[in-house]
């Protein structure tokens, strides 16, 4: 099977004044195409570090001692693992190199949503600007095509387009074919968005679609837009004139409005003009999700996206993620300390403890028939609505500066055997798709 992304034997330590914390101790994870992979575990188990490593966003005191993140046939972490002798200086320059290499990928092919939306939004910029910005950086050719399509289209074109839409009841392929036959690429998503709106009447929709034509731009701007459309990356394009920037951002706002409306944001025309602090927590989180998804990335990492919002808003966002999974082609890694949240959205669930994945399998199996002692105890500790008795896990999580040898759970595990204190259990396949890193599952 080909994976959207895979993490192999990832080991990361943090160098601090209080010692070296071994945060990840051989993490293996495979993300399948189109799935939502849930990642659960207590605080400090390495969930966020795994997400940050995939994004190449590790801080400079993080040493990647081994492992790889394979994406699209290459190892994203290669610049970091190639460091021989660790020093923050050497690490820093490697991280800078990594950032340069990942710049075209981050935000476009892999993107991340963080717990606290305020940290990823710029407080002094309109949210529409911030959504437009990711488009201008990563997908200027799309913006150029959209704009040029409206410049090139004649009233006759849009009249014919409207006819095609009506005759085919808004079929995407029919519209796409028509648009391509007339060299008006970029018009399809605009027209279909209008057609699918349900807050306006037919008459209004028809008007708006007919009006997707006959726009005017200056000849220089047009030439610049055409070179962008021709696939010239924004970095290679001639120094962007102010004018062109303005045109692209305006188009970005336009697409932002369309995209927000598909994310269930009411009154998106108004919302794009607002600043982050004017929005509620739930709305901000939707904006961050929009920024992460607008370039149609292959992989989206969501780190505790609902932990800072209220229960009823959490339910809205979980509903949105489920809906996105059906609609878009991205694959998701959804990190949460709350197993019941993961039960709502995931296809598979991975349980982390002490910087390792101790169990991974299909959602139902991990939740209903877990095989790793830690998973079982974790589930027994969660209060549920039926008010059943719960039990805490005795003992404390190990000090990651000096983790116990052997199985990382051995100081709290009621089944620990001699072997568990000497060897690290490998991951055993216990049934189709279900892997457990515990000696009880084999290798006696």
């Amino acid at each position: 099977m080909e994976y959207a992304l895979s993490v192999k034997d990832l080991r990361v330590s943090f160098y601090t004044r209080r010692g070296v914390f071994k945060a990840l101790n051989g993490v293996n994870l495979e993300l399948r195409r189109g799935e939502v992979l849930g990642v659960a575990g207590e605080s400090g188990s390495g969930k966020s570090t795994t997400g940050l490593a995939i994004m190449g966003l590790l801080p400079r005191n993080a040493k990647v001692s081994s492992g790889s993140v394979l994406f699209d046939g290459r190892d994203l972490l290669a610049p970091l693992t190639s460091i021989r002798k660790f020093s923050t200086g050497r690490n820093e320059s490697a991280i800078r190199k990594l950032h340069r290499e990942l710049a075209p990928i981050r935000g476009k092919r892999i993107s991340m949503v963080f717990q606290e939306p305020m940290t990823s939004l710029n407080p002094v910029l309109q949210v529409g600007y911030q959504i437009a910005e990711t488009l201008v950086i990563h997908n200027p050719s799309l913006l150029a095509s959209r704009k040029l399509a409206r410049v090139r289209a004649t009233r006759e074109d849009t009249t014919a387009l409207l006819k095609v839409i009506k005759e085919n009841e808004g079929s995407e392929t029919a519209v796409r074919e028509f648009v391509e036959s007339r060299h008006l690429k970029g018009l399809e998503e605009q027209a279909l968005f209008i057609w699918r709106r349900n807050d306006i009447n037919e008459l209004r929709k028809e008007r708006l679609i007919l009006d997707l034509c006959c726009e005017k731009v200056g000849s220089t701007t047009k030439r610049l837009l055409e070179s962008l459309e021709g696939g010239m990356g924004i970095t290679k394009a001639p120094v962007l004139s102010r004018l062109l920037r303005r045109v692209l951002f305006k188009e970005g706002y336009r697409k932002a409005v369309e995209f927000l409306s598909t994310l269930g944001v009411p009154n998106p025309e108004k919302v794009v003009q607002m600043y982050p602090h004017e929005l509620s927590g739930g709305m901000r989180q939707r904006i961050v999700i929009a920024i992460a998804l607008i370039n149609n990335p292959d992989v989206v990492i969501m780190d505790e996206p609902t932990s800072a919002v209220d229960v009823t808003v959490q339910a809205q966002i979980l509903e949105l993620v489920k809906d996105l999974k059906r609609r878009v082609n991205s694959s998701f890694i959804f990190i949460s300390h709350d197993l019941s949240v993961l039960g709502e959205v995931s296809d598979r669930i991975a349980i982390m403890y002490g910087g390792r994945v101790v169990e991974v399998g299909p959602k139902e199996i991990v939740l209903k028939a877990p095989r790793h002692p830690y998973t079982t105890m974790l589930i027994n500790a969660i209060p549920t609505l039926d008010g059943r008795e719960i039990r805490g896990i005795e003992g404390e999580a190990p000090d990651m500066r000096n983790p116990p040898p052997g199985c990382i759970f051995n100081n709290r595990c009621p089944f620990a055997m001699d072997k568990c204190r000497k060897e690290e259990p490998p991951s055993y396949k216990v049934s189709e798709d279900h892997y457990v890193a515990c000696f009880l599952q084999g290798g006696k």
């Binding site: 229960v311 339910a315 805490g392």
Partner: protein, 421 residues
């Protein structure tokens, strides 16, 4: 009755208060009760007024109005309630002057401090980082004059044991403890004077589930052993469901439903409680209700029932005002009914219950309302549309404000659906 709040209200004046900046209506007209040895859960979303209620009950902040009656005999409380229904201010005042915590002073108040205490959410900031565990736990015993220094020091060792920590922890500093251990210390401190009433504000929200489970079990044991009445504040419904005997559900500063835990969880009555319980992840009973929007701004909360803009069951008299209806009407007339509103015309609220649709014909507006009121519920509050000066004049019915209605088995619900006619 250990503690009973009546018509308890707290408005926080915004800066510039009297000059018209308004106030945050954090708690409005709330009645709650906690009996000896009872665990009462308070659930609600962020900003619903839970912490403010807790601080009011302990007298840590002064109410804007209303009473907190402490240790009041059942007969007197009943008498107070009867006087309240009869609007007999004199009897109410007589009882309140004896039992209300806001009327106590000096020595009485110090004795009271010993009998009630609070434990906070954040195990990192609630403990003084420069004090050792021993000093932290001792402090309330000494400052309330409950025990002398030496007696208190001895008692610290017993308390540590009580909360499951080794005695040696007395000499540690907070930064040497994990989050769960800090909450144990905080608990030891808050039970040190053997209080009869304890407010726990999100005691486990900052903890992992495994540490949370330990603290919750510990709390249950402490309650048994010392017969403390606990008010457990949390946004986590499953935690409340595991812990409580009774529950209050708060929304936008009001208690919207109260009653025994089991019956509320299995058969919620208030539409907000229904949605809240159905939104608990992993809950598989019944269909999920996804509410639209978010809790309101409490400076200018919705009129009538505070929940009406999001309520899936909302009726015509639940609180719709001209501003809300005008907004939705305008949205329809500019979108779905494009063309009906002339260029430059507006939909203008006039006062609380009237709207002018400029330049429109009453007949046409009436049709739109008929067509849409199934879906756009605010339109149901319209009872008349007629030709007015310069357009169609839309009139809304006067809304009702829900009271607290008793339903079954000691339950009460603040929703007009349950109003007995």
């Amino acid at each position: 009755m250990l503690i009973a709040a009546r018509n308890l209200t707290k408005f926080f004046e915004l800066r510039g208060g009297l000059t018209g900046k308004g106030a945050v209506q954090a708690v409005s007209d709330v009645d709650v009760e906690v009996r000896e040895g009872e665990i009462v859960g308070v659930v609600g979303e962020s900003g619903s007024g839970k912490s403010t209620l807790g601080r009011l009950l302990l007298g840590l902040i002064a109410p804007t109005s209303g009473e907190v009656l402490f240790d009041i005999p059942e007969e007197l409380l009943q008498k107070y309630d009867e006087a309240r229904s009869a609007n007999d201010k004199k009897t109410m005042e007589e009882i309140a002057s004896k039992y209300s915590i806001t009327r106590k002073s000096g020595r009485e108040l110090r004795a009271l401090r010993r009998r009630m205490n609070m434990m906070f959410q954040d195990p990192y900031s609630s403990l003084n980082p420069r004090w050792r565990v021993e000093d932290i736990i001792m402090e309330p015993m000494v400052s309330t004059g409950y025990l002398t220094g030496n007696e208190a020091r001895k008692r610290v060792r017993e308390l540590l044991e009580e909360v499951g920590l080794p005695r040696e922890f007395a000499y540690r500093y907070p930064h040497e403890l994990s989050g769960g251990q800090r909450q144990r210390v905080a608990l030891a401190r808050s039970i040190s004077t053997l209080p009869s009433f304890l407010v726990l504000d999100e005691p486990t929200s900052a903890l992992d589930v495994s540490a949370q489970a330990q603290i919750l079990q510990l709390l249950k044991r402490i309650r048994e052993r010392f017969r403390i009445g606990l008010l457990l504040i949390t946004h986590n419904i499953a935690v409340v469901s595991y812990m409580s005997d009774r529950i209050y559900v708060m929304y936008a500063g009001k208690v919207v439903e109260g009653g025994p835990k089991t019956s509320i969880i299995s058969k919620p009555q208030h539409p907000y409680t229904v949605a809240l319980i159905s939104a608990v992840p992993g809950n598989s009973r019944g269909p999920r209700v996804i509410l639209r929007g978010e809790p309101p701004n409490l400076v200018d909360p919705p009129k009538g029932c505070h929940f009406h803009p999001r309520c899936p069951m909302v009726m015509d008299n639940c609180g719709w005002t001209a501003k809300e209806v005008a907004e939705e009407l305008e949205f329809l007339l500019r979108g779905r009914y494009y063309g009906m509103l002339k260029e430059g015309s507006k939909v203008v609220p006039q006062g609380e219950l009237e709207i002018l649709v400029e330049g429109a014909k009453a007949e046409e507006v009436r049709k739109v309302i008929e067509e849409e009121k199934e879906e756009v519920k605010s339109l149901r509050s319209i009872y008349e549309v007629r030709e007015g000066n310069g357009g169609a004049l839309v009139k809304l019915m006067r809304y009702d404000i829900p009271g607290m209605y008793r339903t079954d088995e000691g339950r009460e619900v603040s929703c007009l659906i349950y109003r007995k006619t």
